[in-house]
Amino acid sequence: MSDRPLICSTCRCPLEEKRVDFEYLGHTFFADAPRCPVCGQVYLSEELVKGRVAEVEMQLEDK
């Protein structure tokens, strides 16, 4: 899915790698992920969610 051309429905523009902020269990952190450059809508691929995101969640739970 990551190489498919995704377009923001409201702004009609392609996504760009930009900073996205996250929060889990009181920890905040950020990473670069595709976002709409205009409205900021975020895209997290399933690959990312099942991989790195799940890993970080697990690490934070075990901290």
Partner: protein, 754 residues
């Protein structure tokens, strides 16, 4: 919370020596020794033994084996032959010479009076630590009482061997008349039975300590046997070293006493093998003899509890780690290492059941879970799904039906939330049977509150129990009939005034027309863990199964030792691998099909394809199509649908006007979900309604991502605290789900620009 720590300190016997070692004058670690021998590690066994007794060649011949009398198998005349094992360790160790250590000399001088077994042991130990040791002996030879106990050619080479690398000065034919003539920093008087005491007495304030600083005495002089004399010598060496280092005469007295007395009937017993020869045991014979040793340790908790066994932690260790997790020393959350452990307890109660002093590690973990929730330190994801499910059970799916004409029912059937989710027809059938026998009955669909208790959500738990209490009071306190023993246990603990009975007891008492579904087939009754508290329910379940024609065979652990199926505590989100492993362990306990009387046990076993059926399904007529043992397991979504269906059916029968209110019209286009995606959603604890909510939110706000190639739309929304992503495509009159996934971390919108 500190109570548990105090209880552990006072009562836990995990560190108590086994009975054999507790009577050994040397306190030999017999467990470890037997362990080495068992696996043929004769060198390791020998070194352990030599370090404990100083003169292995002498002790292995002279010891009168008090360990044999204390051995758990002594009652069967089958005590482990430890002295034979010791001799075998010496015979089969590749090298029995002492080690030669090159250490700096210590500038302290110790005098030992008497070159008998005790004096020699003390001298050897101190000389090996490179103290300057002088031994005064009135005879012209060393050995003392050994001369009357062993042939010279046995003990003399052993003494010489042990001293071969040590520099001790022997002054033979040197009687000491007064300690004043001795120039030393410490003195050990070991002049043998009836020897000279030089006016010294044991002070009792420390091992071998006299009342005078630096002067010690022991061995046969103070009444010990020759074995105790050697042990005294070794202990005196420790006491002297302590004195030389810190100036105090308070080396702890020898105390290897134990409170731990294993029950021989619980230990596998192998009788001793017949001896083939007169001499030393062969390597194989020695390993076999050591193999009979059970290395007794108070370890029932780690043996039986899946959690403690898999984490390899005894209760003391659990307490230490949990205590620092609840109250981390640092203010950051970095010290909360045992969070997942706390959230992994099945709360089955087996740890307390098997503990000889009834220590309740499970209750401690539950308390700790509550504390973590109060501190907002428990990850919400572990229980949110279950708490939402409980909210559904006590809310949308809840219902009270009072069929009693007089308004005051005799029985209140409380099937619990899970049976209706798993097999709603059984709830209807069960209620029907109840009504046939006792028309003055009512039914209450709700939840007992266990999910809130397991989640550590105490206030919510209280409210849920309170809700139950209100309904029960409003029906004038009928007897509660439980289909789920978890509910039975939960309410017996938190609403003890509500009299309860299991449905199984009633059905057994009523002698229903037996449906001979069993047909002589062998099966095992799998007791749910809360049945531990309800022997009468366990008996009724077995009686019903027999009446239904099953030939019952026992499981390795059942009844009061019932083990959790893996579902208890709802730990499968916190620790999915653990929950799966527990279920697999239970499945492997027997190849027989399981008759269960808990819907959760049934569902977890069926999910892993174990032949299992709910006992009610086997004894009540009708029911689902297909074989008894291979019933399907509902997904999380179906479990909710089942409960809605159940409520609807009951409403149609008893309150048709309310039934109509449940028929909510479909809003928006229907979402088609392929079976593979339904299964994927189920494994991720996602409900159909959660995914529909995401799709509807995308369509309503017009905010989503478009894949221009495929035309699919992708968007996310939060259900509870979970972020769910749904990819879908709009078709004519409906939508089709293409993919779905979810994560726990939250995307902070509107923060990425600065």
């Amino acid at each position: 919370m500190n109570d548990f720590r105090a209880q552990l300190a006072e009562r836990c016997m995990q560190n108590d020596p086994p009975p054999c070692a507790s009577v050994c004058p040397f306190g030999l670690d017999i467990r470890a020794f037997a362990g080495h021998m068992k696996r043929g590690a004769f060198s390791a066994a020998f070194r352990l033994y030599r370090d404990a007794v100083a003169f292995p060649g002498i002790v292995s011949r002279l010891c009168d084996q008090p360990c044999g009398g204390a051995c758990v198998f002594s009652g069967r005349n089958g005590a482990i032959a430890l002295r034979d094992l010791e001799a075998a360790a010496i015979a089969h160790a590749p090298n029995i010479n002492p080690n030669r250590y090159s250490l700096p000399k210590r500038p302290k001088r110790i005098a030992v009076i008497g070159a008998g077994p005790s004096g020699l042991a003390c001298a050897l130990r101190l000389a090996s630590k490179k103290y300057e040791v002088v031994i005064f002996e009135q005879e012209e030879r060393m050995g003392g009482s050994l001369w009357s106990l062993l042939p010279e050619e046995v003990f003399m080479p052993e003494l010489e061997r042990q001293f071969m690398f040590e520099q001790a000065v022997f002054r033979f034919s040197s009687p000491v008349s007064s300690l004043a003539q001795i120039d030393a920093d410490a003195v050990y008087v070991a002049t043998g039975a009836q020897g000279d005491r030089f006016g010294l007495e044991l002070s009792g304030g420390g091992a071998c300590a006299s009342g005078a600083d630096g002067l010690f005495l022991g061995g046969e002089l103070t009444g010990g046997t020759v074995m105790e004399a050697i042990a005294d010598g070794l202990l005196a060496a420790k006491a002297i070293e302590r004195y030389l280092k810190i100036g105090s005469m308070n080396e702890p007295l020898r105390d290897w006493s134990t409170r731990f007395h294993p029950d021989p009937s619980l230990l596998p017993y192998t009788p001793p093998a017949p001896r083939t020869g007169e001499g030393v045991l062969t390597k194989e014979e020695a390993a076999a003899e050591a193999g009979r040793c059970q290395q007794c340790q108070c370890d029932a908790c780690v043996k039986y509890c899946d959690l403690m066994r898999s984490y390899r932690k005894y209760p003391k260790r659990v307490e230490e780690e949990v205590a620092t997790t609840i109250e981390p020393v640092s203010l950051s959350r970095k010290a909360r290492l045992a969070t997942r452990l706390i959230a992994t307890c099945n709360h089955c109660g087996l740890c307390k059941q098997v503990c000889p002093v009834s220590l309740d590690t499970g209750a401690y973990l539950l308390d700790s879970h509550r504390r973590m929730v109060e501190e907002k330190a428990m990850p919400w994801a572990y229980h949110e799904f279950w708490l939402r499910d409980m909210e559904f059970s006590t809310g949308d799916a809840s219902l009270v039906i009072n069929a009693a004409k007089g308004g005051r029912p005799k029985y209140l059937f409380f099937p619990g939330c899970r049976l209706g989710g798993s097999d709603p027809q059984l709830v209807l059938d069960g209620f029907q049977v109840l009504l046939e026998r006792e028309p003055e009955s009512a039914l209450f669909l709700s939840c007992c509150g266990a999910p809130a208790e397991w989640a550590g959500e105490e206030a919510l738990h209280q409210r849920t129990v309170q809700y139950f209490a209100q309904v029960w009071e409003s029906l004038s306190r009928p007897q509660v009939v439980f289909a789920c023993l978890n509910c039975r246990q939960e309410l017996a603990r938190h609403l003890p005034q509500a009299e309860g009975i299991s449905l199984y007891e009633l059905l057994d008492r009523w002698d229903l027309p037996a449906v001979q579904l069993g047909g002589g087939q062998a099966a095992a009754v799998f007791d749910p863990c809360p049945s531990r508290d309800f022997p009468e329910a366990r008996e009724a379940a077995r009686s019903l199964a027999r009446k239904a024609g099953f030939r019952l065979e026992p499981l390795p652990l059942e009844g009061e030792h019932a083990q959790c199926c893996g579902w208890g505590g709802q730990v499968e989100i916190a620790n999915p691998k653990y929950a799966e492993g527990v279920t697999q362990n239970r499945i492997e306990a027997s190849p027989l099909p399981y008759l269960v009387y808990c819907a959760n046990c049934r569902d977890v076993f069926r999910r892993r394809d174990k032949a299992a059926a709910h006992l009610l399904r086997a004894i009540l007529p009708g029911g689902e199509a297909g074989g008894l043992w291979d019933g399907s397991v509902p997904t999380a979504t179906q479990s909710r649908d089942n409960r809605r269906w159940l409520k609807h059916q009951l409403l149609l029968q008893y309150k048709p006007e309310e039934a109509r209110l449940m028929d909510t019209p479909q809003t928006g286009a229907p979402l088609l979900i392929a079976p593979e995606l339904l299964e994927k959603m189920n494994l991720s604890y996602l409900l159909r309604e959660d995914v529909e909510l995401v799709v509807e939110s995308c369509e309503r706000t017009g905010k989503y991502l478009v894949n221009e190639e495929t035309g699919t739309r992708l968007g996310h929304a939060m259900t509870g605290r979970l972020t769910v992503w749904a990819e879908y495509r709009n078709l004519e009159n409906c939508r089709e789900l293409v993919n779905v996934y979810a994560h726990r971390m939250q995307i902070m919108e509107g923060m990425g620009n600065v």
